[in-house]
């Protein structure tokens, strides 16, 4: 536990450069500056490590980095996505707060591999504490000569800046984030072209999650194989899981992939107040909800969760006990997507509002018998028809909530009140 991003978390001032360097930080970066590591080596190591994008989509990082056109001389960019906003997820905030240098080093390495001399870390606007920490770390790094033009006499240049968001969940989508970085509304772009060809300011760009970048230095220091073997097949390494909801000790845990959900639940102290587990959302609010039985039988890795009927996502485990009213929970989530839809494409703009209004009506006691079919149908009409994944994210919980807890919804429509008596 706590071997990569959180390895210094228990030390004094874990965010300082000295703490980071004392545990081997920047060793990889210095090796690069000395010319001892080639981009190809790094990509091979990353591919061997099995590191998959930690932002939710789980795309292999090594492969993503190899997509960047490396031979042309045009300006390229690496961008770190610290616009953490998926309900249930709060790991990047802690990485920025407690281990900012790992992100800096990871981004610098990325810049070197992809021949991008400029990087931006897009931090969500509300994360002011992490922002100050990161800025301080940047200052330290510049002062020590780890960043800048022709760093310590080498031919490597890397400038890193922070950009602050201003409150829009959609900017967590990489193309929306790029638009936002350009000073526009955070409306996702359609793909193709992919950012690796046309990204920030029209230049090739790679966007990775904070945790992905933070994991890179440790992987390269200890070897891809070491990292891979921490986890299981198809899900290499360890990952941060934010366990929240009805648990005794909600917290972030960096644990090897493939750990049984039960163990993770125990680490968080189990269900609070001696209640029973009712449902689990394993990967953040956009992933399908699982019943207690499904959850208890699964392990925390990509394949196992997919087999259980959901997705690992960003590793945000939301635990619900038997006092939870599922109608209310789904309404809450539907409101979130309704509020955060960017409004660009039709199904999401119109559909999220429709979903929310139907649920709200049910909550207000005005549900009608056909409403559940309608909800399902509207959800499936959004699914797959939008520019970005927000539409899908809004539709997927609806489908899974209705599938797994249909009797609760039917009860609510019929009786105008929740089936769960003492719901919170």
């Amino acid at each position: 536990m706590n071997e990569v991003c959180f390895k210094n978390i228990d030390k004094k001032e874990p965010w300082s450069l000295s703490t980071y360097e004392a545990s081997g930080g920047y060793s990889v970066w210095r090796k690069i500056l000395k010319g001892e590591l080639s981009p190809e080596n790094i990509i091979d190591e990353l591919k061997a490590s099995g590191l998959r994008g930690r932002g939710g989509a789980g795309f292999p990082t090594g492969l993503k980095w190899s997509f960047m056109p490396r031979n042309s001389d045009i300006q390229k960019y690496v961008v770190c996505n610290s616009d953490e906003g998926e309900p249930g997820t709060c790991k990047d905030r802690d990485i920025l707060r407690f281990n900012p240098h790992s992100v800096i080093e990871g981004m610098a390495i990325g810049g070197y591999v992809m021949k991008a001399s400029v990087g931006y870390n897009y931090i969500r606007g509300e994360f002011m504490e992490p922002f100050y920490r990161f800025e301080a770390a940047l200052k330290e790094a510049y002062k020590t000569g780890l960043l800048g033009k022709n760093i310590s006499g080498s031919s490597v240049s890397f400038d890193l800046y922070t950009h602050l968001g201003a409150g829009a969940y959609i900017c967590g989508e990489e193309t929306a984030l790029i638009e936002s970085l350009e000073g526009k509304k955070g409306q996702p772009r359609f793909k193709p072209p992919f950012p690796a060809n046309v990204g920030l300011y029209g230049k090739p760009t790679t966007v990775n999650n904070t945790e992905s970048f933070a994991s890179v230095p440790e992987i390269l220091a200890k070897g891809g194989k070491w990292f891979h073997d921490l986890g299981v097949k198809n899900s290499g390494g360890c990952k941060l899981f934010s366990v929240t909801g009805h648990v005794k000790r909600p917290a972030n845990f960096e644990v090897p992939m493939g750990i049984p959900f039960k163990d993770l639940l125990d680490m968080a102290g189990g269900i609070r107040d001696g209640r029973k587990l009712k449902a689990v959302i394993p990967g953040g609010s956009s992933t399908p909800v699982l019943t207690a039985d499904e959850a208890l039988a699964m392990n925390m890795d990509y394949d196992s969760i997919e087999n259980a009927g959901s997705m690992l996502g960003a590793g945000s485990v939301i635990v619900m006990d038997d006092s939870t009213c599922m109608v209310k929970t789904l309404t809450r989530l539907a409101h979130f997507y309704y509020d955060e839809s960017c409004g660009q494409c039709t199904p999401c703009r119109e559909g999220t509002g429709w979903l929310y209004r139907i649920l709200k009506r049910i909550m207000d006691g005005d549900g009608k018998s056909g409403d559940l079919d309608l909800l399902n149908n509207v959800g499936s009409n959004i699914l797959g028809n939008t520019i970005c994944a927000l539409g899908d994210a809004a539709a997927m919980p609806v489908e899974s909530f209705l599938r797994n807890f249909s009797e609760e919804f039917e009860y609510y429509i019929e009786n105008g009140k929740s089936m769960v008596k003492d719901n919170v």
Partner: protein, 750 residues
Amino acid sequence: MFEIEIDGKLVNAEAGEKLIEVTDRVGISVPRFCYHEKLSVAANCRMCLVDVEGAPKPQPACSTPVSEGMKVSTQNEKAKSAQKSVMEFLLINHPLDCPICDQGGECELQDVAMSYGSNVSRFNEGKRVIADSNIGALIHTDMTRCIHCTRCVRFGTEIAGIMEMGGTGRGESLKIEPFLNEGIQSELSGNMIDVCPVGALTSKPFRYELRSWQMNSTESIARHDLVGSNINVQTYKGKVKRIVARSNDSVNETWISDRDRFSYEGLSHSNRLLKPQVKFDGTWKEVSWEVALDFCVKGLLRSAGESNSMNSLGVLASKTATLEEYYLLQKLVSELGCENIDYRLGVKDTKNTINLESNVKLSDLEKIDHALIVGSYTRLEQPMINHRLRKAALRGGTVDVINSMQFDFNLALNNENIIIPCEIANLLASTLKVVLESTNQDVPEELNKLTITKSATKIAKKLLSSDASVIVLGEHVINNDNAKNISNLVAMLAKNTNSSTLNLSKTGNSIAADIAGFFPGKDGLDVNSMLGKDMNAYIMFDVYPEYDFHNSSTAIKALSDKNSFIVSMNSFYNNNVADYSDVMLPISSYYETSGTHVNIEGEFQTFAASVKAPQESKPAWKVIKVLADLLDISGFNYSDSSNVLEEAKHNIKQGHRAEESINITDTNSVEVIWQPSPYSIDALLRHSDSLQETKIGQINKATMNSSTAKHLNLGDKDDYLGVPVVISSLVANNCVFINANKSTPSEEQA
């Protein structure tokens, strides 16, 4: 080139093409709202979703590039269900007010809903309502109907070049609106009505008048600028009710300027001249055509006097007549044995003015890599040509400008030279010198004494280094003291730098006038000589003296003082015309007669009459024909205006070719450039109320910098030559740039 399969059919596709371009080409219909062939792809309406084999989700045809071996279905279950669900989403918040919506009957949403919509709504929640914003006199908004396709937003940023509409807010509360409620200011704004697929943006002057199916549509040509935009004139019960763009990629693509779109309003203005009138003892009497024409004939014959010579007849026409009208009038006059004929009413000295040919195709204009604009604000004066130049600039072309005032161009300028009018010739000459020197050619003596300035070197370098460049000469220099020199210098510059030229000073249908030979014969008088002489008679064709003559009060005085017999043919009533004329013959205005417009490419664009001339007014070419018959002149047996055109085509005249000499004169006093404001250039525009209400229509100012104002002893509350003074540092020193929607300057200043 490779093959792809769409709906089981094999079709050819080119790499880089989008799927929708292929389906459109082969005639497979894919519903769409946000896609527009002349705008960038947004892929936001999601209506064009189709099933691409191998893709897990349906793909939007507008943004999916074709690839070899692609198999696409636009009709299968997956595609249909995606399209139907998008249709439902679009309709849930769209009001059901088609019966009062002006777009009803020509609405893309309505059409697509017929095939993809459901007849029952499953949406039981409240519909979204959005407050409208007032965006000016031309466009009415009903934003509740908006489907957020962002075509208008993209039109603004990409075509008009000013981002005026934007999408504010997010999610369901996304609103398409302008920022400040100042109204849309673009000179191309009316195209937003055309691109809007629903009734959110509709024509304000046309509001609630008719349904689209009630009107007849005739193809016509708009004549307010040098391109002759292709339009459809929509009429109802003999009245022009609306004008919309007609696609023609070699002329106007799918866009037309606001001038072309809304000027029709003037046709039904109460100021139309509707009946022939004759002045008996100083008072006007409405008479029949027979009486009026008889009066004309008698008057003209009497004016010839005993010698029976028509040497003392002057014939003047405005710049807006058709080729046929110019030709017939010219023929009539020359048959009478008179050579005093001219259309260059606004030119101070016809011997010293621009004579430059245009030799670039409009569609090639957007491919040039450099343009030098001399004396023109192309954006407002020639919007469609400016649009092509802007396209060139967006493709990476550069634009240099030599002007006397800094204008708000909507394209990036590389190098802007703001100089006083008398220096323009010097700058061009010194540029020519640089060009000649750097190409190792002999420098003519006249240029030897010139010093080479930095800006001249810059301009020359750019012209020399460009493969396809164009020099654009505008209207601002027609009355420059060195106009002829400037014209010659531009021609020589173009020759030596291998550039094309574009002469924007021949506005209206002047090119047709030249072709028809509507200029003084060898011994004939030009306009200014006529006015300076005692002419016994005049025939004035659609002349509005206070706007058309270079010096209005001198002209009016000349026409009214001398006891000449004056026949005026006009489409609008005008007080001054009534003062000096003896007969007023009501003639057709735009869209009321058949004819031909010759555009800057030299393209003959013939149009038919869309409506009949109102009341007793008649198509002008017929009036001239009958007048010729009554004067017993043979050879006027035309049954149709196309006969006239045929004959005119066989008798194409060449204008005088000016000799290439340069002799620059210097002036030291304050120089005035008088330019009618864009919506005041002809009688029809001046009578179009909605256009006059717009910001552009309201332009009426004499701009000068503070030191010029001081020199002239003027403040910003004063008038200069009857035009309100605006003090601004945008104008070159010692220069006054007047943009007026009123008459031309009066005597005192000339």
